[in-house]
């Protein structure tokens, strides 16, 4: 019990110490109820453990990566409206920076769960497909190409007949394979995104 009371008193002292530092007060607060050695240790820690800001270059580089990830998260809604979005090529590097991001986006991993994160981190790195913006892709596939295929597969031909362009032919072939194999279409954010089409592009044949 005494330990808890001492801890409570010390906690109040630290509150006062931090508040005094915020006010740029010259003198540290005194509290006779706190062990002088503990008081001195708290004072030294408060003054020594400085908060450090990373370099401006690092800050801006990470801001750019976060912007790329943010863009990939809003893209399904834009794709549903039929507009083609140019994905930044740097998006693939997000997976290199953190292989767990894909599982977090898919809702398979909670980054606040210590046990789950530790277990996931022990797994060998894989090139598992990542759900980015409504299309299944991987770091090995051009994200711009995937975006195009998803967009193209979700809208009919403007002339009412099928296009003969290479990407469209590949999409139709893969879709035919998917239908033959009985694979269901992945529907995300209102857009039919032809996951099997993408898988067909990435797979053999």
């Amino acid at each position: 019990m005494s330990d808890e009371v001492d801890a409570l008193v010390a906690d109040r002292y630290i509150d006062a110490l931090l508040a005094a530092a915020d006010r740029h007060a010259v003198d540290a607060p005194s509290n006779a109820a706190v062990d002088p050695d503990v008081r001195e240790a708290a004072r030294i820690l408060r003054a020594s453990l400085v908060r450090v800001h990373p370099s401006f270059r690092f800050e801006e580089r990470l801001a750019g990566r976060l912007a790329d990830l943010a863009l990939s998260q809003v893209r399904p809604a834009l794709a549903a409206g039929g507009s083609l979005v140019e994905l930044p090529p740097a998006s693939a590097s997000i997976l290199d920076a953190d292989p767990l991001v894909g599982a977090i986006i898919r809702g398979e991993l909670d980054p606040t769960d210590a046990d789950a994160v530790e277990a996931a981190d022990r797994l060998p790195p894989t090139r598992r497909p990542l759900l980015v913006g409504g299309a299944i892709t991987s770091a090995a596939i051009s994200l711009v190409g995937v975006a195009y295929v998803a967009w193209r597969a979700s809208r009919p031909s403007a002339q009412g007949r099928s296009s003969n362009r290479a990407m469209a032919r590949a999409a139709r072939a893969a879709r035919a394979r998917r239908v033959a194999a009985g694979v269901s279409t992945l529907v995300i954010a209102g857009a039919s995104t032809a996951a099997a089409v993408t898988a067909g592009l990435g797979g053999p044949g």
Binding site: E4, V38, I44, A47, L69
Partner: protein, 215 residues
């Protein structure tokens, strides 16, 4: 309003590009936590990058859980973010046990003892004191070191630290109190050693000055 970041979080949920405001607000805090935990600038940058990428990816599933007891300054987003940071850094520490790390004193470099030139109290701390404090901090067990870092570097309340570490507030207060006691003993030991060195090997300062003057 219980969570002081509520408006920023809601904006980021509507438009993930607005996450930038939360990122800029907490960058130095997360980076500092990683730096004190890992003792290396590059490792701290890598960990910081992962923390924010994971936070943005998981933001749609963030749930505000502030309680009235947490007070008007509570930020459950900050607690949530630091839970991600704790897990990310813990994994990095496990991976780095196989590799030698540079000293935190070297990583912090010249800025070690001068937090803010306007902070007179910080100016009063000598480089020796700061070095001793860092060494004492790094000698602590993981949970005690994390609690002190969150309390003194990130200036979290006991309630917030309890949320980050997954313990009760009472347990965190005792943890911090014991950690402070350990630091106090370590600082006392360092000073005792230094005094002992002076007694046994080096002459007192005025003697050294006299000797210098003679030579």
């Amino acid at each position: 309003m219980l969570d002081r970041d509520r408006s920023l979080v809601e904006a980021a949920r509507r438009d993930p590009a607005r996450f930038d405001a939360l990122y800029r607000k907490y960058l130095a805090q997360v980076y500092s936590f990683a730096l004190y935990e890992l003792g290396d600038h590059h490792a701290a940058e890598d960990a910081t990058e992962r923390v924010f990428l994971r936070a943005l990816a998981a933001l749609p599933r963030f749930r505000e859980q502030a309680r009235p007891d947490d007070g008007p300054e509570a930020s459950t987003f900050r607690v949530w973010l630091f839970r991600i940071a704790r897990n990310t850094v813990a994994n990095e520490r496990r991976a780095r046990r196989r590799r030698p790390a540079t000293s935190l004193e070297a990583a912090l470099g010249a800025g070690l003892a001068v937090a803010d030139p306007a902070d007179l109290e910080a100016d009063a701390v000598t480089r020796d004191e700061a070095g001793e404090a860092i060494r004492a901090l790094r000698a602590l067990p993981d949970d005690r070191r994390r609690a002190l870092t969150l309390r003194f570097v990130d200036e979290m309340t006991t309630a917030e630290i309890a949320g980050v570490l997954g313990r009760s507030e009472g347990a965190v207060r005792v943890l911090i109190h014991r950690a402070l006691g350990a630091v106090a003993r370590e600082l006392g030991r360092e000073r005792g050693t230094r005094v002992g060195d002076h007694d046994g090997e080096a002459p007192p300062a005025h003697d050294a000055g006299t000797r210098d003057a003679r030579s």
